[in-house]
Amino acid sequence: MTNSILYSVLLLASLGIFAAIILYVVSKKFYVYEDPLIADVDDVLPAANCGGCGSPGCKAFAQKLVNSDDISELFCPVGGNDVMKLVSEILGKEVAEKDPTVAVLLCQGGCDVRPKTTIYQGPRTCSISAMVYGGETDCQYGCLGDGDCVAVCDFDAMYMDESTGLPVIISDKCTSCGACVKACPRDIIEMRPKNKRDLKIFVGCLNEDKGGIAKKACDVACIGCSKCEDICPKDAVIMTGNLAYIDPVLCTLCRKCVEVCPTHSIIETNFPPKKVKKPKVEKPKVEKVAVVKESVESVIPKTDA
C-alpha cells in the first residue's frame, strides 16, 4: 500500500522535473527578445483593433511605433491626441497633433425626398449593387441604403434609420477610425473636423448632374446655383462643376450659406436655434442629420415659390 503511494509520487515528481528541464531548455534556445516598450505602448493604445491607423491591430501598431524612427506620420484616430501624447512620453519621439475628426454622411436623400424609380432584387449589400447599376433612385451619386457602413462599424456609432433608409452617425460614439469611409462604394462618408460642441456645416449632397436633373432625382440635391459661394465671406465654398463643397478649414460656421441654399442641401448640426425675427420659419435644429431633414422638408414649399 505505502509502496504504491511512494511510486506514484516519485513517478509524477520525476515526470515534472523532466518536463521542467525540457521547458527550460526550449525557452532558452528559442528565446525571442521583445522590446518591453511595445507592451508599454500597447497598454496605452485603445485596444479597439479597428485598423483605423492602417495597421492590422493595436499590437502591430505599437510595434510599428516602437520600431520606426520617425512616427510623425503615424496616428491613432481612435485615441486621438491624448493617446498619442502618452505614446510620445513613453517613446520620447515627436508625434503629430491632429484635430479630432468625425464621420459625416454627405447625402440626405431619404425615401421621402428621393423617389425610387427602379427595384433591385440582388444581394443587399452596397458594394454589389453599386457594381451592378446606379441605384434604385435616379441619383447615381447618393446613398444606396444597404448599410455596408453600418456593418463595418466596430463602435456601434452608426445605425440605419428605418424611416429614411439612410445611415445615421452618432457623433459622440464615432471614433473616426475610417472603416465606413472605406466600406462605402460611393464615397459618401467624409471625415470632417470636430470641434468642442460638434458644430458642423457641410453640403449634404454629391450629385454632379446639372441642376434640373439633380433636382428631379432628389428634392434636397445641390443644384449648383453658386448662391452659397457668392455669400460666403471667407471663400470657403468651392464649386466644382455643379456641386458645392465647403472647406472645413476656411469655414467659420457663420451659417450664411445655410440660409441661402434653395434646396436646403447644406446641413448644419448642433447649432442652437437662431434668434431671428420670424420664428415661424426656424425650428430648433438638433443633433442628428435625420432630424434636420424633417425641418428641411417643412420649409421647401415656402422657398420654392
Partner: protein, 442 residues
C-alpha cells in the same frame, strides 16, 4: 452523338418564340442616343460638336487607342447635344444625341446590297476596312474585331471558328441572320480566311436550328474549306472557350486567348458586318435585335439602328404588357435588366426580353446545403459555392487562388441553385476586387 463541350452545362427551356419571324426593318427613330462606350476597352473620342450636321455612316466618335473602336452616325441629322444618358450599364454615360433629319432621303432608303462574291482587296485593305468600320464582336462581348485579327508573328492561327450557336434562350437574332444571309456570311468567312491565310473554317450551330444548318451547308457547298458542325443543345456553348472545346477539342489555357491555341472565333453577326464593311464599305450602324417575351404579341426580329431607344422597340411589338417586371438587355441567362426604357440599343444588344412578374422573381436566398449542383454544372470546373463564400467573407486572395478569374459569368450556378443563392452576383463582385488587387500588385 453530336459534339459538345465535356464539362458542366445546363439546358434551360429554349423559348425561341421568334425563330420563324423574318427580320423586319425598324422605322427610323426620331432621335438616336449614341453612347461612346459601346465596346470593351477605351471609350471613343467625340469628334462632333453641338449643331453639327452628320450624314449616315459619318464617324462621330473616333477610336482612341488600339483596343477601341470608331462609332458612326446611324442616321443623317443634327447633333442636338452631348449628354449623359443612362445606358445598359445602369450608369449615366456620355452620349451623342442626334435628331434625325426627316427630309433627308438617305435616312429612308431601303439598303439594297446584292450578293458580291469577288474579294478584290488584299490583307491590309481588309483589316483597314474592318478597323475603320467600327466593327466589334456582336455576340455580346463587344470586343473590337480588328484586335482579334491583328496577328503577331509568333501566333500561328490555323482555324477560324464561326459562332452561330446562340445558346441563350429566347434569342433568335443570329438564327434568322444565318437563314436569311447565308451566302453573305459564307463570303464574309472567305474574306477573313483570305485576310488571315487560314485554310480551315468551321461554323458551329446548335442542333435546334436545323434550317440554319441546312442553309449554311448549302451556301458552303462550293467551298470545301468551310464546314458546318451541328452541336448538341447545351448552355453555355456560345462561350468562346466551350465552343473551341466542343468543335476541335483544344483547351484555351488559363488566362489565355483562343489565339494561343491557333484559333480565332467570330460571331455570325460580326461576320456579316465584316462582309458589309469590306464589300460595300458600310460601317456598323445597325444590327439584328430580337424583341421577345412570353406575353409580347408581335415578338419578332428587327434590323435596328444603333442608338434607338429601347422604348421604340417595345412600342413596335405592342407596348409593355401588363404584369411586366423586368426588361432585359440581352438573353435571360447573361443579360442585364435595364433601368428605364430610354436606354439606347448599342452594338452589343442582341435581344430585348420582356419578363413578367412570375418569371423574374429570384426567390429568397437560403443557406447552402452543399448539394454540389453548382459544381456539377460549372463549365469551367470551378466551385461556385466556395467562391461565393470566400467573396462574402472578403477572403479575396484565396478566391484568386481558386481561379475566380477564369469564371465566364454564364450564370449556370445561380440557375441550378436550389437555395436560390446569388452565386454569380458575389463571384462577379469577387472578380472585380481580385482584378483591382492584381492591377495594384503590378
Amino acid at each position: 452523338m453530336l459534339k459538345t463541350f465535356p464539362k458542366g452545362g445546363i439546358h434551360p427551356a429554349e423559348n425561341k418564340i421568334t425563330s420563324s419571324k423574318e427580320i423586319k426593318r425598324m422605322p427610323i427613330p426620331k432621335v438616336v442616343y449614341v453612347p461612346i462606350a459601346q465596346h470593351i476597352g477605351i471609350p471613343s473620342e467625340i469628334i462632333v460638336d453641338r449643331k453639327d450636321k452628320v450624314e449616315i455612316g459619318q464617324v462621330v466618335a473616333k477610336s482612341s487607342g488600339f483596343v477601341s473602336s470608331n462609332i458612326h452616325s446611324p442616321v443623317a441629322g443634327t447633333v442636338t447635344k452631348l449628354d449623359m444618358i443612362v445606358d445598359t450599364s445602369g450608369y449615366k454615360k456620355q452620349c451623342i444625341v442626334i435628331r434625325t433629319d426627316q427630309k433627308n432621303e438617305s435616312n429612308f432608303e431601303e439598303p439594297n446590297f446584292p450578293l458580291k462574291k469577288e474579294i478584290s482587296m488584299d490583307q491590309k485593305d481588309i483589316l483597314k476596312h474592318i478597323t475603320d468600320s467600327g466593327i466589334v464582336g456582336l455576340g455580346g462581348a463587344t470586343f473590337p474585331s480588328h484586335v482579334k485579327l491583328d496577328l503577331k508573328n509568333d501566333n500561328h492561327v490555323d482555324c477560324l471558328i464561326i459562332n452561330g450557336v446562340e445558346c441563350e434562350p429566347y434569342l433568335t437574332a443570329d438564327h434568322r441572320l444565318m437563314l436569311e444571309k447565308a451566302d453573305e456570311i459564307i463570303v464574309g468567312i472567305q474574306i477573313l480566311m483570305h485576310a488571315l491565310h487560314i485554310q480551315e473554317a468551321v461554323i458551329g450551330i446548335e442542333n435546334n436550328k436545323k434550317d440554319a444548318i441546312k442553309a449554311l451547308k448549302k451556301a458552303a457547298q462550293s467551298d470545301k474549306r468551310i464546314k458546318v458542325a451541328a452541336l448538341q443543345v447545351k448552355y453555355p456553348q456560345g462561350s468562346e472557350k466551350q465552343l473551341i472545346k466542343a468543335i476541335i477539342k483544344r483547351e484555351v489555357p488559363k488566362g489565355g486567348l483562343p489565339m494561343d491555341v491557333g484559333i480565332i472565333v467570330h460571331n455570325v453577326g460580326t461576320i456579316f458586318a465584316i462582309y458589309q464593311a469590306v464589300q460595300y464599305d458600310r460601317p456598323l450602324i445597325e444590327r439584328v435585335v430580337t424583341v421577345t417575351g412570353k406575353k409580347i404579341e408581335n415578338a419578332s426580329n428587327f434590323w435596328v439602328k444603333i442608338g434607338t431607344p429601347i422604348k421604340d422597340l417595345v412600342n413596335e411589338v405592342g407596348g409593355i404588357p401588363e404584369g411586366t417586371r423586368k426588361i432585359v438587355n440581352g438573353g435571360p441567362m447573361m443579360g442585364k435588366a435595364i433601368k428605364n426604357t430610354d436606354v439606347p440599343v448599342t452594338k452589343g444588344t442582341s435581344g430585348i426580353l420582356v419578363i413578367s412578374e412570375d418569371e423574374a422573381s429570384r426567390g429568397e436566398p437560403k443557406n447552402c446545403i452543399r448539394c454540389g449542383e453548382c459544381v456539377d454544372v460549372c463549365p469551367m470546373g470551378l466551385e461556385p459555392h466556395l467562391l461565393m463564400n470566400l467573396t462574402e467573407k472578403g477572403i479575396y486572395e484565396t478566391a484568386a487562388n481558386e481561379d475566380i478569374m477564369t469564371c465566364i459569368e454564364c450564370g449556370s450556378c445561380s440557375y441550378v441553385c436550389p437555395s436560390h443563392r446569388p452565386l454569380l452576383d458575389y463571384i462577379r463582385f469577387g472578380k472585380s476586387i481580385v482584378k483591382k488587387l492584381n492591377t495594384a500588385k503590378n
